[in-house]
């Protein structure tokens, strides 16, 4: 079946006009990536899923209030970040976050935006690494395994591990550069 592609901005606009299918499309497009991102802040899988679920519930509930003039993806990730940071403080309401994001001064004081963009781009690029290199890279970086342990687990030489790490670094650098970050 042919599927016409809508931009994020078009989807947000349709959601504003009560379109539930666009809402579902936006969910499909963002859920996993947002969870991945929120996880990097909270370091807890269930908490990350809760925060992102909350984000989407509120996105529908307050669809009439949300007007995005700039890049929708930035807005959604920033919304996720603030929900994540506030998830431990129950007093902060979603609407106050929406109001905060509307405030132009707010963008100015948010100095870690650049770092977030880098991280979001990096994660996307890691997902695109060749399978074996990705496996080696993640065992070292995420699982914190020693070279010897990786070598035993995958039955490869330490030299091959270094080759995979180098290849990963190269690919990640180019991939991130292509995203203009």
């Amino acid at each position: 079946m042919l599927e016409t592609y809508s931009t994020d901005e078009e989807l947000i606009k349709l959601i504003h006009d009560d379109d539930y299918i666009s809402y579902n499309k936006l969910f499909e497009r963002y859920f996993k990536r947002l969870c991945q991102y929120v996880y990097s802040i909270l370091l807890n899988k269930d908490d990350a899923e809760d925060v992102v679920q909350d984000l989407f519930l509120n996105l529908w509930k307050y669809r009439k209030r949300i007007e995005i003039t700039g890049n929708a993806s930035h807005y959604i990730f920033r919304m996720a970040k603030h929900l994540a940071l506030n998830s431990t403080r129950s007093t902060v309401s979603f609407t106050s976050i929406v109001d905060q994001l509307d405030n132009p001064r707010f963008a100015y004081i948010d100095d870690s935006l650049e770092k977030d963009e880098f991280r979001i781009a990096l994660y996307d690029c890691i997902d695109r690494l060749p399978q074996r290199s990705r496996e080696v890279f993640l065992l070292e970086r995420v699982e914190g395994m020693k070279q010897k342990e990786i070598a035993d687990k995958l039955d490869i030489s330490v030299k091959t591990i270094k080759q995979h790490i180098w290849l990963s670094l190269q690919k990640l650098r180019t991939c991130i550069e292509l995203k203009n970050i």
Binding site: M1, L2, E3, T4, S6, L14, D17, D18, D19, Y20, I21, S22, N24, F27, E28, F31, K32, R33, C35, Q36, Y39, S40, L43, K45, A48, E49, V52, Q53, F56, L57, W60, K61, F118, R119, L122, Y123, I126, D127, F137, L138, E140, R141, V142, Q147, T160, K162, Q163, H164, I165, W166, L167, L169, Q170, L172, R173, I176
Partner: protein
Amino acid sequence: MCHSLKGTEMEEQDSIKNHIVDCLMNNSSVEDDPILEQWLAEDDSHKQEFARYKKIWDESGHYMNPEVFDSVSAWNQIDGQNVQRMQKQHFTTKLLYMASGVAAAGLILVVLSLAGLFDRPVHSAISFHSAYGSNASATLPDGSHVDLNAGSTMAYVYNAKEKIREVKFNGEGFFHISKNKIPFVIKLAEGLQVRVWGTSFNLQAYNNEAIIEASLVEGKIELTHGNHKLMMKPGDMASFDKKTHDINIVTGIPSHSYAWLDNKLYMDDMSLAQVCRYLERRYDVKINIPLSMADSIHYTGVLNEESVVDIMQALSRLSAISYSIKGKNISITSKNELPMKK
């Protein structure tokens, strides 16, 4: 593992890469490695390159595989809560409406203005749209399910005044309507209404088609227009003529009318114009046909080709037409002097 670098560049890369990888993997300081230190001092671009690797290295520690997050169960929960909230809104609206009715005894004027407010469906309306070139499916807050053919729009609202589940509809859809005490009513062009009891049926009601067609699979539905009423039985097909406002049972094979769910088009003496309108919706294309050919060429058979090009080819084999495709525009012309008539 091999890199496609050449000559001296490769040798240089080859030697320094081990130093970079070792430095990162051992988490050691640059100062501990004179070769790496020297390479960095050689050129600013080396410093930048290394800084990039370091940043990638440091930032990737909190990576999590996105596939571990369960989007299916998350959506089910989100959808469930949205539905609940919308039903609650219906309920509150209904309560307020009743309350205002009670108050009417004393304060008729106030109630009238309030009732006007409650009529507005803004809080509970949900709309669905499938663009040209794509199908969509939708679950309504009452649990009903609708598959939308390309180029359809639907708005669902609980109408508190008439106490009905009301749908405004343009396009084609296959409806599975859940059994519910609250009547389900579809409002269509030219005042035609379809009243539905827990059932499934196909409804074609595109704005640019001359007739509205319904095919009932199970349950019962009633077509009404003014005083005209037609109750349909399972297996019945009925049509409404937008000009004459006649409602009639028609003969045909019901399953052919919703073959679009399987991407098929059954043509029973269908005009070229009608086929083209279908293709325009289905493939999001624009088709030009000479007026003289629009209703003079008819087709009988089934189309289930994948692409619009394949379909155009099939049509040109079935009849004396030629076609040319430019992007999303298709022009149909006569293959010879005499267009083939059925």
